[in-house]
C-alpha cells in the first residue's frame, strides 16, 4: 500500500518538531533552515500551517529537470533528487507551482521531501498528529469519519 503525508493545520501548534526531525534525518544536524517541511505562522489569525511537497504524479520538477536528476521511487511514490547528477540549475524550483523544492547554497544542489524512503521523520515527530502518513487512496478517511459521526448523531 502506498502512503501519503497528510497535513491537518488545525492540529498544528507550531512546535517545529517536524522541522527538527526532518533536518536531522536529512543532514544529521538539528537545523530548521535545512528542513524540507516548513511551518508557516499566520499571526493575525493565530494559525500555524505545515507545508511540504505533495509528490505530484505529473511532477513539474521532474518534468523540468534537464539532466533527469529527479526520479520516481516506485515504492513510495516520492520524487527523489539524485544528488550525484543534480547540477544545481534551479529550473525545478521555478517550475514547481508550490515552492516545495528549493536550492541549497551549502550543497549546490536542490532539496525536497523524499518521504525519508517510506518512513517520514516529520510524521513520527509530530506530537499532535497534524502530520500523518496514511493510505494514499484514503487521505480523506479521518475527515469522512468525523462527518459520518455527525450524521449519525441523533441529537443534531
Amino acid at each position: 500500500m502506498q502512503k501519503s503525508l497528510y497535513i491537518d493545520p488545525e492540529k498544528c501548534t507550531g512546535c517545529l518538531q517536524c522541522e527538527m526531525a526532518c533536518s536531522f534525518e536529512q543532514t544529521g544536524v538539528f537545523n530548521p533552515s535545512q528542513s524540507r517541511i516548513k511551518v508557516f505562522s499566520f499571526e493575525e489569525e493565530g494559525r500555524k500551517v505545515p507545508y511540504t511537497c505533495t509528490q505530484c504524479d505529473e511532477a513539474w520538477c521532474m518534468q523540468a529537470c534537464p539532466v533527469d536528476s529527479i526520479k520516481l521511487d516506485a515504492t513510495t511514490g516520492a520524487k527523489v533528487v539524485q544528488d550525484e547528477t543534480c547540477v544545481g540549475c534551479k529550473v525545478c524550483t521555478i517550475s514547481c507551482p508550490f515552492g516545495t523544492i528549493n536550492y541549497v547554497v551549502e550543497t549546490g544542489k536542490v532539496a525536497k521531501c523524499d518521504l525519508c524512503g517510506g518512513d517520514p521523520a516529520c510524521a513520527k515527530a509530530c506530537p499532535t498528529d497534524a502530520i500523518t502518513f496514511v493510505d494514499a487512496n484514503w487521505t480523506g478517511l479521518d475527515k469522512m469519519r468525523k462527518w459520518a459521526a455527525k450524521a449519525n448523531d441523533a441529537s443534531l
Partner: protein, 615 residues
Amino acid sequence: MAWTRQILRVNLTKGTCTSEPLNMEWAMDYLGSRGLASKYLVEEIDPKVDPLSADNKLIMATGPMTGTIASTGGRYTVVTKGPLTGAIACSNSGGYFGAEMKFAGWGMIIFEGQSPKPVYLMVENDKAELRDASHLWGTSTWHTEEQIKKENHDPQIRISSIGKAGENQVLFSCVVNDLHRAAGRSGVGAVMGSKNLKAVAIRGTKGVGNVENPAEFQKVTAEKKQILAENAVTGEGLPTYGTQVLMNVINEMGALPTRNHKDVAFESANDISAEAMAKPRDSDGKAHLVTNQACFGCTIACGRISKIDKDHFSVVQKPQYHGASGGLEYEAAWALGAANGVKDLEALQYANLICNEQGMDPISFGATIGAVMEMYENGTLDEKKIGVKAPFGSAEALCELVDMTANGEGFGVEIGLGSKRLCAKYGQPELSMSVKGQEFPAYDSRGIQGMGLTYATSNRGACHLRSYTVASEVLGIPVKTDPLTTEGKPGLVMAFQDATAAFDASGLCIFTSFAWGLGDIQPQIDAACEGDWSEAKLQEVGERIWNMEKLFNLKAGFTKEDDQLPKRLTTEPAKEGPAKGLVAGVPEMLPEYYEIRGWDKEGVPTAEKLKSLGL
C-alpha cells in the same frame, strides 16, 4: 557536546562585537543558561553596581538542550542585575529566539557598556554588527519585529526586543521575543533600555550538529516525550486549558490573592478562568480563546492565543488589536484580574496585550495596580492624582492605566516604579505586596504555606518559578503535601529550588517538571553533552547555582531582613476558605530553611558549604 563553545561579546560603548571561546570548566560546573550566564555575571560585575548604569551587563544565554529536538528545548535566559529588586535577575523565555541563537552558533551573548544612541544587534551566523535603531526607538516590540524583518528582506529572522516601557526604564519592563513570549520579570527590559539597545535580531542557519551521542539522544528524547504526552498535566490539562486551568482550583483552595491580598478568594474567579475563555461570549458568540500554541520544540503547547471582543470598550476604536494575540496565561489573568478585583475578561486581555506590545511584566504591573487601587480606596490617592477613578474592580481604570504606564504618561510614570517605591512614596510601604521589591505572583502564602517560603527566599524577589511547591501542595507532584502546614516545607522548598535551577540551566522548560524529574532530564543531558552527567551532579549544579546567586545578593547588600514577607501576610489571617484564620508561617520556617541549606542564622552560606560546592 551540545554547547556551541562560542560567546559573542558586544561592547555597546565602543560598538564592537567579538567572539570568544566558552569557558568549558564553568560549563561543567554550571551547565548553561541560567547557571552559566549567572557565573559570567558574578565574575564580571560588581554586585553593588547601579543596575541601570553602563557598568551593569546583560547576558542572553541558551542551555545545552536549547535548539535540540528534546521537548521544550527552546528556552533562553536573560541574566543581569535587576533594577526592580537590586538582586540578581534571571528571566527565562520560550518562543523561537533562543533556538535561533544556537543555530547561529552562539551559546551566549554578553552586552556591556552603553551605546551613545539607539542600536540593535544583527546577527547572521558568524557575522554580528550593531545597527542604528533610531527609527525603531519609540515603537513597540511588535512594530520592531515587523520592521527588522522587512528592512532585512528576511521573514525568518527571530527577534527579541524592548518596547516603550523598556526604553522609559519602567522598572518592571521585560524583553519580548516572537511577539508573545517574554523574559518577563525583575525589569530586565529596563536594563536593555538603559543601554540604548532596542533589539537583538538573529538568523541562524548552522543548526545544532554536535550532540555527543546522536542515536541515544534521539531514542531517549522520544521516550521522554511519550511521558509528557501520557501525563495528565502536560498531556491534557496544559494543552487544553493552559496554565489558566489553575484559576478555579486555586480560588477554591482560598489561595487566590484578591484586591491586593486583602482577600484570599475572588467571587468572580470563574469569569476570568480557562473555562470562561473557552465559552462563547454573549456579545458576539465567539470564544475568547482561538487556539493553543507551542514554543520551539515543545510537545506540551500550553500557550494561549486569543481574540478580544471587537466591540469591547478597550479596542472598539483600535482595530489594530482585533487580531489574535498571546494570553491569557494564569499569572497574568490573576495579576490583572483578581489582584485588582477586575472580572472583565476582555479588559484583562487588553491589558495583557499592551504588556506584550510595549514590553511590561503583567504580574508586577497588575499587582502594582492592586496597590494603587487600595490607596485610592483608602483616600491616599484620588482621581486628580491618578487621572482616573480607580476603585477595586474598575476595568476602565485598568485599561487606562496600562496605556499610561506603557507610554510613560501622567501617573503611569509613577506606576512604572513598581509597588514598593510607589507605596513608599505615598507613605504606605506596607501596602506593597512584594519581596525584595518584586511583586507576588498568583498564590497566597496563607493558603499554600510553601509558597510563602518560596517568595521570601527567592533570589530574584517574589516569584513562583524558583520553587513551585504548588506542584506538591496542590497537585501532589511528586508527592502530596498539606498546603496548610509549614511542616517539612523548608526541605521541600530547597529541593524544588535546586532542581529548578538545574532544569533552567539545561535550556528546557520548567513546565516539563510536572511529568519529569531530574531523573528524566539526566539521560537527555547525558546523551547530548560531553562529560558524565549523573542525577547527583545535576542536583549539585542546582545547589551551586542557588548559592552563587545568594552570594551575589549578599554582596549587593541584602540581609536576612529582606527574606521576609509583607506584614499583611504574616499578621492578617485569611478571612475565608480552607486557610481561614491562618497567616503565612515564614518566620517559623526560615531558621530551619537556613539550617538545611548549610547557611548560618543570618542566612549566609557557611565556609564549609561553599567549599563543598566549589564556590
